[in-house]
Amino acid sequence: MVAPARAPLRPDRLRAVNAPREVAVQVDEFGLPMTAGLPDGPTARIESVNETWRIDDEWWRQMISRQYFEVMMEGGKRVVLFQDLINGKWFAQLP
């Protein structure tokens, strides 16, 4: 990690960029998202699921397991959602 000049780097002053934001998602009978209530807008229908992938990581300390969906919302907005497979909650994150 390269610290910018003049700014002393201290872990307590770091702020995460692109932290996941919890969202309310309804899924269909196959477990695919149908609607999503994004933090900055009303609940909207999901037009299509463009891509899906899974991340399993950090199994050696606290397991992270996520199922990602890149979806097209009604109106054309592209959003990345993921379901935390450990606790079942849904989150939105920038692509």
């Binding site: 990690m1 390269v2 610290a3 910018p4 003049r6 700014a7 002393p8 780097l9 002053r13 770091l14 702020r15 995460a16 960029v17 692109n18 932290a19 996941p20 991340i55 990581d57 992270i64 994150q93 920038l94």
Partner: protein, 409 residues
């Protein structure tokens, strides 16, 4: 490191439209016509406009086509910022003969520290007279001089003076003098000026009667500063400059060199390297020296005082080429050392226009960024600017890749 000499008692020497005056000085007869200088950054717009042109309705910032439409006899001049800077350097050198404490403002504006000069010249009027004599003869009819405690009072006094005259603000009368002055004398941007006028504030006295905290809350740092200036609460001394120590660049040849072309090429490289030295920024080279250590133990030395201080590599090398042609080293050169030994101050304005453009732009951006960060922190009472830093850019988890950290300029 030497401390910068300062002087709280200041004289302000102001030659309005200095670049235009430079053009009038070198083009005889130009002064009788409506003239305008084109802007150095975009030649489609006017930068400075003579009073004759102004009377016809031509204004700075107008496009050339607009101006010609209004005044068909308008004479347009391509700007020559390097020439203006050289003329300004001559003015600075001449004023240095009167006082060692000189601070350059924009082109045509110089603050002169006058603390202690009474012992040499006598009264304030005699010092003012000496300053006027230092100005080139063609500018003596247009120069305005101001005198007072601190740069701001001196500047306001100069701005109130008639051409070729001086306004001296006696010690202790600064607040009375400033109170009656219009707010236009403050260093304001157009927006702040408009806002103050809308609030009915016309003079520095009216501004000074308002609470400082209220002005700061409304206008931020610049509001605080203008209040302090208007109330005469801040005295900004003239800050002279200390010439940088000499700058040297050396080159050792793998095998001694005798060809003149190769020596010239090596000198060009050394000049370029020495010009890039951080100590040189803001200064033009006035004196230089070249030493050559010759194969077999001899040496060769040449020293030059440039007619006009410059930061242009071509002008610096010109006298060296002549010397190399007329009396070259008597043997092959094993080591070549170039030294800049004397400097003359440059101006920030030139740096923006010409040779130091990139360095000045970088410095300007940093200054602007620092000032903006301070302003935001003052207004919102917390840091609201951040650096983005890489944390684990390789991580599969997007939130682990980057983080924000407070921006501390």
């Amino acid at each position: 490191m030497s401390r910068r000499p300062t002087s709280s008692l200041a004289a302000c020497v102001w030659i309005p439209l200095f670049p235009l005056r430079c053009e009038e000085a070198r083009h005889e007869g130009l002064a009788g016509f409506p003239t305008a200088l084109l802007a150095p950054d975009t030649t489609r717009k006017l930068w400075q406009v003579s009073s004759q042109a102004r009377h016809t309705g031509v204004k700075p910032g107008m496009t050339v086509s607009q101006a010609i439409g209004i005044c068909p006899t308008l004479r347009l001049i391509e700007p020559d910022p390097v020439h203006y800077d050289e003329q300004f350097a001559i003015l600075l050198s001449a004023l240095t003969e009167v006082s060692p404490v000189i601070e350059a403002g924009e082109l045509g504006l110089v603050y002169v520290g006058v603390d202690g000069l009474q012992g040499i010249y006598g009264s304030a009027e005699k010092i003012v007279q000496a300053l006027r004599q230092a100005v080139r003869p063609s500018d003596r009819q247009t120069v305005r001089l101001g005198w007072g405690v601190g740069k701001f009072t001196a500047w306001v006094a100069a701005s109130r003076a008639r051409p070729s005259e001086a306004v001296v603000v006696p010690l202790g009368h600064e607040r009375d003098f400033l109170a009656s002055q219009p707010i236009a004398v403050l260093p304001l941007d157009a927006d702040l000026h408009r806002r103050l006028r809308r609030l009915g504030i016309r003079t520095l006295g009216m501004l000074a009667t308002l609470p400082e905290a209220a002005i700061t809350a409304q206008f931020g740092t610049s509001g605080k500063r203008i209040w302090q200036l208007a109330a005469g609460r801040v005295i900004e001394p003239v800050q002279g400059r200390v010439e940088p120590e000499s700058i040297a660049a050396a080159l050792e040849f793998f095998s001694p060199v005798g060809e003149r072309e190769l020596i010239v090429h090596a000198l060009e490289q050394l000049i370029a390297r020495a010009l890039k030295h951080p100590r040189r920024i803001g200064w033009r080279v006035h004196a230089l020296r070249v030493r050559a250590e010759l194969e077999g133990g001899g040496s060769w030395l040449t020293a030059h005082l440039l007619k006009e201080p410059t930061a242009d590599a071509g002008r610096i090398i010109a006298p060296l080429k002549i010397r190399l042609e007329q009396s070259p080293p008597t043997g092959a050169v094993a080591r070549l050392v170039l030294e800049f030994t004397g400097f003359a101050p440059g101006t920030t304005e030139l740096q923006l226009f010409a040779r130091d453009a990139q360095a000045a732009a970088r410095a300007g951006q940093q200054r602007a960024l620092r000032s903006a960060a301070r302003e935001i922190r003052l207004r919102v009472k917390r840091a609201a600017l951040y650096h983005i830093i890489e944390v684990q850019p390789w991580s599969r988890l997007p939130e682990r890749r980057y983080a924000l950290i407070d921006f501390e300029p």
